[in-house]
Symmetry: C2
Subunit: 439 residues, 2 copies
């Protein structure tokens, strides 16, 4: 496959070529589309990033309607008004970035604990003072919906400023029905106000709430029963796009998560899971059994369960921000994931305890530096595979029929996005065909 052949396939008749809502011309494009040769495994004829040079994009009704060589459109340009054409002057276009695993809605922050630990306090000291996740649960429960919105919006804005046009947002700091509802409502409101796509995820099975702990015994099964009861209620209110849990020795067993997944299945809701972050208690195998969208973290994932993920088309979501913040040393099984061709997405995992990170660009750099992923892998992991991790078939790549969610970058080559730390080369984003400033 070569690029000009592709372009030719896309030539359309005169009436179509003069009737786009908007044109982007003079672009270099990282399409992440197999149609343009994107193939992360670099089989024969693959083209890095599925890249196109000197290309143009025609947009109609918020969708990508045509992609071709810049020269193909030049004769039609007189049919367009000035404000319908964006000449990007050789800059790079990628799909709008997708942050597919976040906890950006929460109250308070935990910089006091961050500081206390560095001053010598142990995790036990901090827990004894009401710290850890309990502190975030308390602050989130106490926050008004307006305050929760305002606090969380800062984090969303930081991500949008770096090219994010779709984001997943989890609940899981309420751990009671009202606060889980409040978190998911804020997630929906954030998407509406900022006009970007928000996928909401119900994560009540995140931690055992303090009121379920006692000196006698933890009542984790009782809590899971509540989690299962709340899910249909919140789903009926239109607040739940997917269901998640934290499958870990310090959280919930795979049997407990299975009970939640059964309810999800009965509601036809897709599942995903925090799996194998600190130990292997069978999370990814469970997700694969339920043909889940993604299994996330995965430092302790076994090759046996990677094969199960491959068979169930489950995406591996890699979260280097938590690895970095927790100073972990065990790397996720990147080579085995490549070998079994399990697509890898990456995400900020933005949360107040283990990943206070609101930069998907920095996450890309961490993926390269800490996990030895290639720039193409981390960019695919923030676009096409992140879309798959959210079940969004029309996002994350640039091809005809997909949503016109794009990011425009002042870079020399796509690898710049993963190489630079702290330099944001964004020039603007397009969401469903509309340009928006990011400054």
């Amino acid at each position: 496959m070569n690029e000009s052949e592709n372009f030719n396939e896309q030539t359309l008749d005169e009436s179509t070529m003069t009737a786009f809502d908007h044109l982007i011309i003079n672009a270099n494009i990282a399409t992440f589309s197999a149609h343009y040769g994107f193939n992360i495994y670099e089989d024969a004829d693959s083209i890095p990033y599925g890249q196109l040079h000197n290309a143009a994009i025609g947009i109609k009704n918020g969708k990508i309607a045509w992609i071709g060589a810049h020269e193909q459109i030049t004769t039609h340009l007189p049919h367009y008004q000035e404000n319908q054409v964006t000449d990007v002057d050789g800059k790079w276009i990628t799909p709008g970035l997708i942050d597919c695993h976040t906890h950006i809605v929460y109250g308070g922050n935990r910089s006091n604990e961050f500081e206390a630990r560095l001053q010598g306090a142990s995790y036990q000291d901090i827990a004894a003072q009401g710290g850890g996740i309990v502190a975030t649960v308390s602050a989130t429960r106490a926050a008004s919906i307006e305050s929760l919105f305002t606090q969380s919006e800062k984090r969303l804005i930081a991500l949008i400023k770096e090219g994010v046009t779709s984001i997943e947002i989890k609940s899981g700091y309420g751990l009671d029905l009202d606060t889980e509802r409040k978190m998911l409502t804020v997630a929906r409101q954030l998407g509406e106000k900022h006009g970007i796509h928000v996928s909401t995820t119900y994560l009540a099975a995140h931690a055992l709430p303090p009121e379920y702990k006692s000196h006698m015994q933890d009542r984790a099964d009782d809590y899971i029963e509540q989690v299962c009861e709340w899910l249909p209620i919140l789903h009926s209110e239109g607040l739940v796009d997917a269901v998640d849990g934290f499958c870990e020795k310090i959280a919930f067993s795979s049997d407990q998560i299975r009970r939640v997944f059964e309810v999800a299945r009965s509601l036809d809701l897709p599942v995903k899971l925090h799996s194998e972050q600190l130990s292997d208690i069978g999370g990814s195998a469970l997700v694969a059994e339920y043909k889940g969208l993604s299994s996330d973290h995965l430092e302790h994932l076994s090759e046996t369960d990677i094969a199960k993920m491959a068979a169930s088309n489950t995406i591996a979501v890699i979260l280097p921000g938590a690895f970095y913040t927790l100073r972990e040393t065990k790397l996720p099984p990147i080579e085995a994931l490549r070998k079994h061709r399990v697509p890898m997405a990456i995400s900020t995992d933005c949360n107040p305890g283990t990943s206070p990170l609101t930069s998907l660009l920095l996450t890309m750099n961490m993926g390269c530096t800490l996990f030895y992923l290639t720039p193409e892998e981390v960019l695919a992991g923030s676009t096409v595979y992140a879309a798959q991790a959210l079940g969004l078939a029309s996002k994350g790549k640039i091809e005809v029929g997909c949503d016109a969610d794009l990011a425009l970058w002042d870079i020399a080559r796509p690898a710049d996005l993963a190489y630079q730390m702290g330099l944001n080369p964004i020039q603007g984003i397009m969401v469903r065909g509309q340009w928006r400033e990011t400054a």
Copy 2:
């Protein structure tokens, strides 16, 4: 010492209190001033960050003229025009941040090498293709002064947007007289255009230029002779504030650096050095002998040489971005530096090869996460100690008589600056008494 006593010391007569150029009111201030109890070693009566609450600052002629309790100024407010008063509504003020070790002026970038290495190329492969520092030297030599300015300015703007009001910029990618001059000239021009303080550093002893290498032998001594000849020339042109070198087995010996330092001494120029990054060949001991401003990197620094740095009042400049990018494992001797009370500064080390990093906030987080520094240490390392590393006595702290170089932050507490990754809470900077927007 308590905070209100301090405030009272600062009460002034009516005529003074009504004649400031500008007032900042309702502020929380991290002063980093011993006058307000700042003492990184937490001796008796120390106050974290030298912090003041509900405070006000009076500014005159670009200097901090008065600091006191907010209540002390309220009766005088009617004397001020609205545009002379900034009510910061409880937000935090720190000294303007100081990035004390950077190589932000260079041509090109090295994302292609970053990508090639992750695709499996060895350093040898890359060097054989003209990569590594040679690639940056070639691009910097080839760039016009205007292009070099434009390329470097993006990096400076990124830093300023995060509160940087003073920066050190090194030469060292020219390795010939004309290009070293071009780099230092661009550094000066950047400071002038952006109105911030730039300290220039002559780093011709950074690497052996390609034309001094041959199959027969490296002519490093010959090159050092040139370095020594160029220094007085560039100094006479007003381009050199300090002199630096790279003392390492892969660069120059301490005897070679000594020759450069001798010329610096003859010109009364302060020295600093890239020392003990990869091995210990006596760099810090040499800097201490010349009573240098700072010794930088220091992963392999011995306690013996730490004692020498303590005796010579040499600052230890810690560079976590390079440690992170190179995936180093040997930590700098933080505990021994604390024990000997050698002040630690931190810096981005922004450079295209080993630290493509233009975020001093992220550098602070790396200092905490990778090197176990406390938030107070990394903030002091980006303010008061960074100023000392540049010999800037009137910057880096908030006390009467210092330059009114400030940063305003929307944070709950100072530790937030080191805790958050990717969230820039800057609200504005003040440079020599003038507010500037950072958006």
